[in-house]
Amino acid sequence: MTRKGRRLLLISCALGVLGVAAGVVLFALNDTIVFFRSPSEIAAERTAPGTRLRLGGLVKDGSVVKSDNTHVRFVVTDGGADVAVNYVGLLPDLFREGQGVIAEGVMVPDGSFRADSILAKHDENYMPKEVADALKKQGVWKEGETAQ
């Protein structure tokens, strides 16, 4: 094979690999991204049951009900609307009423949300950015306030 031919072969192999990589990336992006929604947005657009999403807001005061089989129910609010959440498992260390939370899961037909993971915060002063933005939109929380 000539030098030119070899280089051509090499370049086409490289392009092939990169093409496959790009294809996989696009396919995966299309298929696996999860949107973030606040309770007000869910109320406004009537999110279809079965849609996988991330729900963020504040844990409504007095809404947390724990049972002895690690099933937890609570309400997520952003001041504008509420969504009831069901979750089975251990709650993160910093899960508290009146604090920010992100739950990932699916909407069920009765309008509640079945979470399969509850996002932990790592610091008691830290408010998830998405939640802070959603609350700001509803006028519940202002810049400079701490999450507590």
Partner: protein, 667 residues
């Protein structure tokens, strides 16, 4: 020590760094030997000032000097000494100072051990290194000064985030920074070569040890971070595809590609332009990682504080270095002469494939990590790109890498014999089939792909052994000759094989844990038990305990398998009083290579307590494999040819000899 001394030393260090940027490069341009020689001196003085500054901050932490704002915000007098020391870099300001300290250490190492580098190259390398130091010192002094005083000084500090009060903080950040910042040296070498317009095989030989060092530290740093998150967060996961983890993984992929392409460049004088680009990319991705972590654009465990001015500043640094070096690259790369042609099926070809797939993986991670940021900036939509995306893309790209890994070293340079390599790998392939069959038998009706994965991992591990075996010529030459050859093999061959085996071992752990882990969650009362993975965990008692700065509730579990007592596990829910912050202290029991993992949750109505238990088969292999990879890198570093470094003719000849006398398949 007075904190102002630390502050002042940092300002002096900035002045020295400015000189270090200007003088040696100017000297190299004008051919002034005296100016070039001043570079190493300045690098050492710089390291001295930065060390003094860092020592001052550590002292302030150890002595709990609450007149320093940084100490107030991140320390507490009741904290154990170790955590007072490590707390120095458990915050934004201190962690940036550690970053610069590591940069200074690497600069000093080049100054001390770069004795046989050509004067011009060395001057330019130290100059580029100096410019990175200037940027980051300005960043610290202008936006993140750790020495700011607070008046009046409070009597007590606010304590460190309890998650960080762990031995992991002593190990993970320094190792990771040794990796990140280590790539600044290869970056400096690349830019210096572009400035000079000279790039030869000797350049690759000088760059390789630095790239290997940085890579080995980065590997350890990532593995340590993974294990830390695993045992500290209490969620039982070892990799979350958190943006910050991705930030460390991207330079790792680029660095892995770099250490391989540098081999091609050193041995065959080919892939020069590509190697330089990889050296630039590896450090650029490290800088990007620093930006992602330090700017507050992401919400993650590593974001200590979000301050927009910092983000903009780091972004400016990022644009200057990445943009500048890529522009220089675009300008100079076409003038570099390409050498060494090779057939697609050859050692070079295999390494090109490795490079393509690794950089594609880095790109896939890059897209997944930055896509949400870009989309939010574009139309305000908030999305998450989660584990499914990364598992799919990185998995698809790494599968061929793993499969091709045993073939590469068996192919000859220039033109290889794929069928011959496959023939020599028959034994490894057979063994892999046996492992896969055993896995399929053992798992019964588990995931279909798992046995294939186990087989692939076994193929990688045994394939690494086959390479050594073949090179020594076992089975083809008399045993004594083979052993003599084995002794004569360069250490880098053993290092490479060890690292490849490490990849296989890591893979084994990942696949086993992902496919066969078992999880149980339940509310458990004292005396009740929970079954997971064939083990019976009985909650014997719940007892309150207390430590220097925390109180906790500890659950003591006895573990039985088939009625036989295996031991006990203690797991706690801990409350750190200074911040009123609870943490989960997972109880972990290692059984062989597998682990039982127990987290304690909240107390539930009716006297029960939430318990989550995992059975994680072969999970320790994940980190063990990474350590073996790093050891392989370290073993390669001890190779005589890399240690000698400069191509002194006599030494070089004798060092090269062993490889030439081995009529291994590579020839």
């Amino acid at each position: 020590m007075n904190p102002e001394i630390g502050h002042y030393a940092l300002v002096l260090a900035l002045a020295v760094a400015i000189l270090q940027t200007a003088l040696p490069i100017w000297g190299a341009r004008t051919g002034d030997a005296a100016l070039m020689r001043v570079g190493p001196v300045l690098a050492l003085v710089f390291a001295g000032f930065v060390s003094l500054s860092f020592a001052t901050l550590v002292t302030a932490y150890v002595q709990s000097d609450f007149s320093v704002l940084n100490v107030v915000e991140n320390s507490h007098s009741a904290k154990p000494l170790l955590y007072r020391i490590t707390g120095t870099w458990g915050n934004h300001e201190g962690s940036m100072l550690l970053w610069v300290l590591v940069l200074a250490i690497f600069g000093a190492l080049v100054a001390l051990f770069g004795g046989n580098l050509p004067a011009r190259l060395k001057a330019n390398v130290l100059g580029v290194q100096g410019s990175v130091a200037v940027a980051f010192l300005l960043f610290i002094l202008l936006t993140s000064n750790p020495f700011i005083r607070v008046v009046p000084a409070p009597a007590e500090g606010q304590d460190l985030n309890p998650i960080l009060q762990d031995i992991g903080l002593a190990i993970h950040p320094p190792l990771l920074y040794l990796g990140y910042v280590g790539f600044s040296i290869t970056f400096a070498f690349a830019v210096a070569a572009l400035i000079e317009g000279r790039l030869d095989a000797a350049w690759a030989r000088w760059v390789r040890p630095w790239a290997l060092t940085a890579w080995a530290f980065l590997t350890l740093g990532i593995a340590m971070g993974s294990y830390w998150a695993y045992y500290e967060l209490g969620w039982g996961g070892w990799w979350f595809w958190d943006p910050v983890e991705n930030a460390s993984l991207m330079p790792w992929f680029a660095g892995t590609a770099l250490i391989h392409s540098a081999v091609v460049m050193e041995k065959r004088d080919a892939l020069k332009v590509w190697t330089v680009l990889l050296a630039i990319l590896a450090f650029s991705l490290s800088l990007l990682g620093t930006f992602l972590v330090r700017s507050g654009v992401l919400t993650s465990v590593h974001v200590f504080a979000a301050d927009p001015s910092r983000g903009v500043f780091i972004l400016a640094i990022l644009i200057f270095f990445i943009g500048g070096s890529l522009a220089l690259y675009a300008l100079r790369a076409p003038t570099l002469r390409q050498g060494g042609i090779f057939a697609p099926v050859s050692r070079e070809g295999a390494l090109v494939l490795n490079n393509l797939l690794l950089t594609a993986a880095a790109a896939a991670v890059f897209v997944g990590t930055l896509y949400p940021l870009a989309l939010e900036a574009y139309n305000g939509a908030k999305i998450t790109v989660g584990p499914p995306y990364f598992n799919l893309t990185v998995g698809v790209l790494m599968l061929p890498v793993a499969f091709a890994m045993p073939f590469g070293p068996l192919l000859a340079w220039k033109r290889g014999d794929l069928a011959g390599a496959a023939q020599r790998l028959m034994a490894a392939f057979g063994a892999a089939l046996v492992v896969a069959a055993l896995a399929a038998y053992a798992q019964g009706g588990g995931p279909v792909l798992a046995p294939f994965g186990m087989g692939l991992a076994a193929f990688v591990i045994i394939g690494a052994g086959v390479e050594i075996f073949e090179r020594a010529g076992f089975g083809r030459v008399p045993l004594a000759t083979a052993f003599a050859r084995l002794r004569g093999l360069p250490r880098s061959v053993f290092g490479g094989a060890l690292a490849h085996a490490g990849v296989g071992i890591c893979l084994l752990g990942m696949i086993a844990e992902t496919s066969w882990n078992a999880e149980g969650v339940a509310g458990v009362r004292v005396g009740q038990s929970l079954n997971v993975g064939g083990y019976e965990l009985t909650l014997d008692r719940l007892e309150p305990r207390s430590g220097p700065n925390y109180r906790d509730l500890t659950g003591v579990f006895s573990v039985r398998r088939g009625g036989v007592d295996v031991g006990t596990i203690e797991s706690s829910k801990r409350l750190f009083t200074a911040r009123n912050m609870p943490t989960t202290e997972a109880g972990i029991r290692t059984l062989g290579l597998s682990q039982l993992y127990v987290s304690l949750g909240d107390e539930l109505p009716g006297g029960a307590v939430g318990v989550r238990a995992y059975w994680k088969p072969l999970v320790t292999l994940i980190w063990l494999g990474a350590v073996i990879m790093a050891l392989g890198g370290a073993l390669s570093l001890t190779d005589r040819r890399l240690r000698v470094g400069a191509p002194k003719p006599a030494k070089n000849k004798s060092a090269k000899k062993p490889e030439n006398v081995v009529p291994a398949p590579a020839e």
